[in-house]
Symmetry: C2
Subunit: 331 residues, 2 copies
């Protein structure tokens, strides 16, 4: 078992993002993805990430990790202390992937699912060693956004969460332990709420996709990039304090403002309308160009906020020990 090795199963947008973050942090990666165009897609993500990190990191950077494409899960997971699963969001598929992983990985390896929608207790239900499974839910682009939500299931042992915290911090991330297992965890619940309201606004012709995006990015988006909801309101409340603010603001919730009480039907007409408005908004850019614009902006923001601990003399030494679990049994 080598220090600084990890396996990634599934090389889509999220798996590719994990690979990029791992490599940029000097971790060697073995990847398995059966798709024919997997390499091409992963290469595109790696290229974006390389460009972003060139601009992000001003001090010395650790050497890049080594990427190895494997022909099977068994080959990818052999001897690695951490396996990141990023396959499509189907419970049976993920469970079958875990069976194959458990047949070939070290018994003390951590298994981290990237799911945004499935519960860890369900994911680990058929595992031989369920204590080592956790959800580590990242946000796109994974190589730049720091947040990773860590969620254990009923069978996950506390040590798994603790070791994961250490590892993801090492990757320059902000691990957030979601202490209660809950659908959609934390951040996606907010995204859902906003998405639902946005669908209503487009459907009812209150605003176009571009107007909605402008309402976000020139206003509260700028606030939330640096202070969350509660802290922002604490400041807005002034010296009178948070309690005073809530007492003033809270009653508005009873007003007939929002449409959140149900979900608009996603008719063909609504889907077409959104797609057409989105095309009008940015169809003149390719997705590739939009990714570059996004990354350039994110790098600028991360640098302005100093949200990265790169170049702070961190070292990979000892990370194998930190990651390995002890289930009283070794392969």
């Amino acid at each position: 078992m080598m220090i600084g090795n990890a396996a990634v199963v599934g090389g889509g947008v999220i798996g590719g993002g994990w690979i990029a973050r791992l490599l940029q942090n000097g971790v060697n990666v073995r990847v398995f993805d059966p798709a024919k165009d997997a390499r091409q897609k992963i290469d595109a993500v790696l290229e974006n990430a390389a460009l972003a990190f060139e601009n992000l990191i001003e001090g010395p950077r650790p050497g890049l990790g080594r990427l190895e494409y494997c022909n099977s899960i068994s080959e990818a997971v052999d001897g690695v202390p951490l396996i990141i699963e990023a396959v499509p969001e189907r419970l049976e598929l993920k469970q079958s992937v875990y069976r194959e992983i458990e047949d070939h990985a070290p018994v003390d390896a951590l298994i981290a699912s990237s799911t945004s929608g499935l519960l860890p207790s369900d994911l680990q239900a058929d595992m031989k060693h369920p204590g080592r499974l956790l959800v580590a839910h990242p946000f796109n682009p994974v190589y730049l956004l720091p947040l990773v939500e860590l969620v254990g299931g009923n069978e996950t042992v506390p040590e798994t969460i603790e070791k994961a915290k250490g590892f993801y911090s090492f990757l320059g991330m902000k691990p957030l332990h979601v202490r209660k297992e809950i659908e959609a965890f934390i951040a996606d619940r907010f995204l859902e709420a906003v998405w639902r309201e946005a669908l209503w606004l487009v459907k009812d012709e209150i605003a176009t996709t571009e107007e909605i995006d402008d309402a976000i990015r020139f206003g509260f988006g700028l606030r939330w990039a640096q202070m969350g909801l509660f802290e922002t309101y604490r400041v807005a409340g002034g010296e009178a304090g948070m309690k005073h603010f809530i007492e003033q603001f809270g009653p508005c919730l009873k007003w007939p403002w929002t449409k959140l009480m149900d979900v608009p039907d996603l008719t063909d007409e609504l889907v077409d309308k959104i797609a057409a408005q989105s095309d009008a908004q940015s169809g003149h850019h390719s997705i590739r160009q939009l990714e570059r614009i996004r990354d350039k902006n994110l790098v600028g923001i991360l640098k302005a906020l100093k949200v990265n601990d790169w170049g702070a003399g961190k070292t990979l030494s000892g990370y194998e020990q930190q990651l390995s679990l002890d289930f009283g049994e070794k392969r």
Copy 2:
């Protein structure tokens, strides 16, 4: 009537923010606020704004506007082409303020309400010249955040919106015309949705205020500071396009994820819990310190994103003409 003059009625957090933005853009301001501590509060905002603009603007800056404290509404609004109203959110109060403004302001002056909750049709219901009233809803801190939502009521004339667009653009803002009059306009509907879900998460002990803030600011907050909701999803959807993305993502809305179907009761217990968690999160900073941290971060982000057109050689000349309306009658 002098070029580059405006009146602000109400000098709280929002009114003070308007004054700061106006002065920093070289506009002279007359303010009326009957509160005893109004000057002190306004001075604190101006000090924050001065510090922020020193860091924000690298090129040459226009001279500061002149601030004049007035003893009455009539004195403040006499002869100015734009009156910004930022008094507390009570319809009757605002309507009585408009009556006094209309008795003393030029008949062609624009009247812009900062309300976040009241509808312009209601605000203008008793006005002599309702065509000149609009809502221009800013976001805190007003001197730094670019978004201003412009909303007309049933009686607002199109020219009012057009002139306001020009003026707020001159102030370095991003005016967003909300074409249909709707409760909470656009941005606050999203804030409501998130706030409601956040209250549930705290109440049910899923997460603390600090954890919720971290889930926002290390993840989607960073995305939304530079690309809104739809654009982010367009990119996430990749080459398959927006339509494909919605078809994949949309059905999740039917899952039992979010708690948005009702509002948690704001019991004393819940209010105390939030206040205590917020104290634990940042009680070691004064509000003043938090404001400075916020502003420093915002300045960094705005500079990184180049979201300000300062120093681009803009001039105040001619703004009086742009602002004045023609109702066929002159004072």
